[in-house]
């Protein structure tokens, strides 16, 4: 039996964070990018809870809950912006929205 310790959580969290980041960099669909950012946030949450568990402190869990709440608010704003954009530009492919540049 393998003892699951802090390092395992941190490692998993780092992997998730990097996957999310690569997703943001590679994907072009706005909604998918948004989901990838959420993935990064959740990776952070995982680390936080793991640290809190390891440190025997409540702060980390509390922070994680706040982050989830903020993420919900972000989703609202994000989806609103995506809808507004798709109405104006008729696309949610980020590469096609580049009137502002230089």
């Amino acid at each position: 039996m393998l003892d699951v310790g802090l390092d395992h959580f941190l490692f998993l969290s780092a992997i998730l964070f990097i996957i999310g980041m690569m997703g943001v960099l590679i994907r072009r669909n706005l909604i998918v990018i948004f989901m990838c950012v959420e993935l990064m946030t959740n990776a952070v949450n995982l680390s936080l809870v793991a640290f809190a568990w390891n440190l025997n402190s409540i702060d980390g869990q509390a922070f994680a809950l706040f982050i989830i709440a903020v993420a919900a608010a972000e989703a609202v704003v994000g989806l609103a912006i995506i809808i507004a954009l798709s109405r104006r530009a008729h696309t949610i492919n980020v590469d096609e929205v580049r009137t502002l540049r230089n």
């Binding site: 948004f34 952070v44 025997n56 922070f63 706040f66 903020v70």
Partner: protein, 516 residues
């Protein structure tokens, strides 16, 4: 698990400036729904102004305080007061200059040569969002632990994302918001990750306790723990994004360009002030023992940022974009204050006070410049350099004000911007960063290139003869007050810098005693 819960009631009197802004925002939310249309605009504007000014007075009564409540999560100290005052000044200025924009909406010059309204803007929601953003920024300034810091940053940023997209019929507005939003979230995740590592290494969310822990583990040969350094670097990236430091600045030109101009004025100051508040709280207060590590980092970033911002601004013909790059450059100057921090900072250390003074100066001159652009937008044209043609002959006073703002941004003595740069340069020299001080001077010289171009266009070109609306009384009054402040505040810089000194000194002294 022995959880140490402190159940004493929080001392709300320490937080009432922030609470005033919060309550005002909620009142605005209701007033938006219930106030009849005839008095709608005036009422909401009035509530906003009264709220912010009331909060400012409440803040002034707190000067000299140095206390914490909510179990250390909320601090009422000199830094809170100084930064919150700057934020409130920016808020009042934004309300004043956005009035005409909100009344008239965004106008465009149609093919028939007539102005038509392209985007009407709901005033109530605008004010509510400004209120939340201001509240968030004030929370950052008052944050005593990582959670409040993060919540404040996000609250402020979320409201600003929506404000950026406020002219939702205009693609550029939504596009700017989309970029700002996505990248903002991305940077927030990085910032959060950094906070997590700091928490993991030090075992605390509380800023003072983090400092204490680090000071306790300081073996005297510097910090080499990779986890701690990783946390530090991720924080630098996250905060650097919010400040618009190169290379994390890419959202700035697009978002500034796309956003409605009063919003641009607001977001060039308040989120930036919040970012620097977070930087001071995080680095100077919590990670003070690591200052040898982070001062070098900020110094390099400051150099890159001011050079890049100033150089790229030269090629811009869109004044809003030019000012966006200029604001990046100013971020660079302000960062010098952080870079010049000498570890174990004392009252004599001029770095943080120079930073605070710079933000104050930047607030006046930058909002002033955007206020003039807001006025010009009533012509229903874009914000290109050509739109300033001959302004000196059609609206001489506004041209004079714009000249003052440009000269101050450039750093011409004896205007406010000159004193701000002067103090930052002195701080850099005191910290043996002579190369950085020289770069500031050279970069300022380069900046004359694009700032003076606006002045030249105003005074030397012929007006194009298009109709030019009168500025509303509120807008012209606002521009006037900002111009006078830009002109005169510099002469009274020493009392202001004394206050900043006292407060930043109290902060660092406090950090050190907590750390021992």
């Amino acid at each position: 698990m022995g959880l140490d819960l402190d159940l004493t009631a929080p001392d709300l009197t320490l937080a009432w400036p922030q609470l005033i802004v919060f309550v005002m925002t909620v009142v605005l939310l209701f007033a938006d729904a219930f106030v009849p249309k005839a008095q709608h605009f005036a009422t909401l504007t009035g509530i906003s102004l009264v709220g912010y000014i009331g909060a400012a007075f409440a803040l002034v009564t707190q000067s000299g305080q140095n206390a914490a409540t909510f179990d250390g999560a909320f601090r009422a100290d000199g830094l809170t007061v100084f930064l919150s005052l700057i934020i409130l000044v920016a808020a009042v200025a934004t309300v004043v200059i956005s009035a005409s924009y909100l009344q008239n909406g965004e106008q465009q010059l149609g093919s028939d040569g007539r102005l038509r309204i392209a985007n009407s803007v709901p005033a109530g929601e605008f004010y509510v969002l400004i209120g939340f953003s201001v509240f968030g920024a004030m929370l950052v300034a008052a944050a005593g632990n990582l959670i409040v810091l993060y919540i404040g940053i996000e609250l402020s940023a979320l409201a600003t994302y929506v404000l950026t997209a406020f002219a939702k019929r205009r693609l550029t507005s939504v596009e700017g918001a989309m970029k700002y939003f996505l990248l903002g979230l991305f940077a927030s995740a990085i910032l959060l990750y950094g906070m997590t590592w700091i928490y993991g290494v030090t075992g605390s969310m509380d800023l003072d306790r983090i400092a204490a822990h680090l000071a306790g583990t300081d073996a005297g040969d510097g910090f080499t723990d990779p986890a701690l350094l990783l946390g530090l670097l991720l924080l630098v990236v996250g905060i650097g994004f919010k400040m618009a430091a190169v290379p994390f600045h890419f959202w700035t030109p697009d978002a500034y360009d796309g956003a409605p101009t009063p919003v641009t004025a607001f977001m060039s100051v308040v989120p930036k002030a919040a970012a620097f508040a977070a930087a001071i709280r995080l680095f100077v207060q919590a990670l003070e023992p690591l200052s040898d590590q982070w001062t070098t980092l900020w110094a390099v970033l400051a150099l890159v940022t001011m050079v890049f911002g100033n150089v790229v601004a030269i090629a811009q013909r869109n004044v809003k974009r030019m000012l966006a790059y200029s604001s990046i450059a100013h971020t660079g100057y302000i960062m010098v204050g952080l870079a010049a921090y000498t570890s174990g900072g004392t009252i004599d250390d001029p770095s943080i006070s120079s930073l605070l003074f710079y933000i104050l100066a930047y607030t006046f001159m930058n909002i002033g410049a955007f206020a003039v652009i807001t006025y010009l937008q009533q012509r229903g044209v874009g914000m290109m350099l050509e739109d300033f043609n001959g302004l000196a002959s059609t609206r001489p006073l506004i041209a004079v004000a714009m000249t003052l703002f440009m000269a101050s941004l450039m750093g011409v003595p004896p205007l406010l911007g000159f004193y701000a740069k002067y103090y930052v340069i002195v701080a850099a020299i005191d910290a043996d960063l002579l190369w950085l001080a020289v770069t500031i001077v050279v970069a300022s010289a380069v900046s004359a290139f694009f700032y003076l171009r606006i002045v030249a266009v105003m005074y030397f070109n012929q007006p194009d003869g298009r109709p030019l609306a009168l500025p509303t009384r509120l807008l012209s009054g606002g521009i006037g007050v900002l111009a006078v402040a830009t002109l005169l505040l510099g002469l009274f810089s020493s009392p202001i810098i004394d206050l900043a000194d006292q407060w930043s000194g109290a902060l660092t002294v406090l950090g050190r005693t907590a750390g021992q």
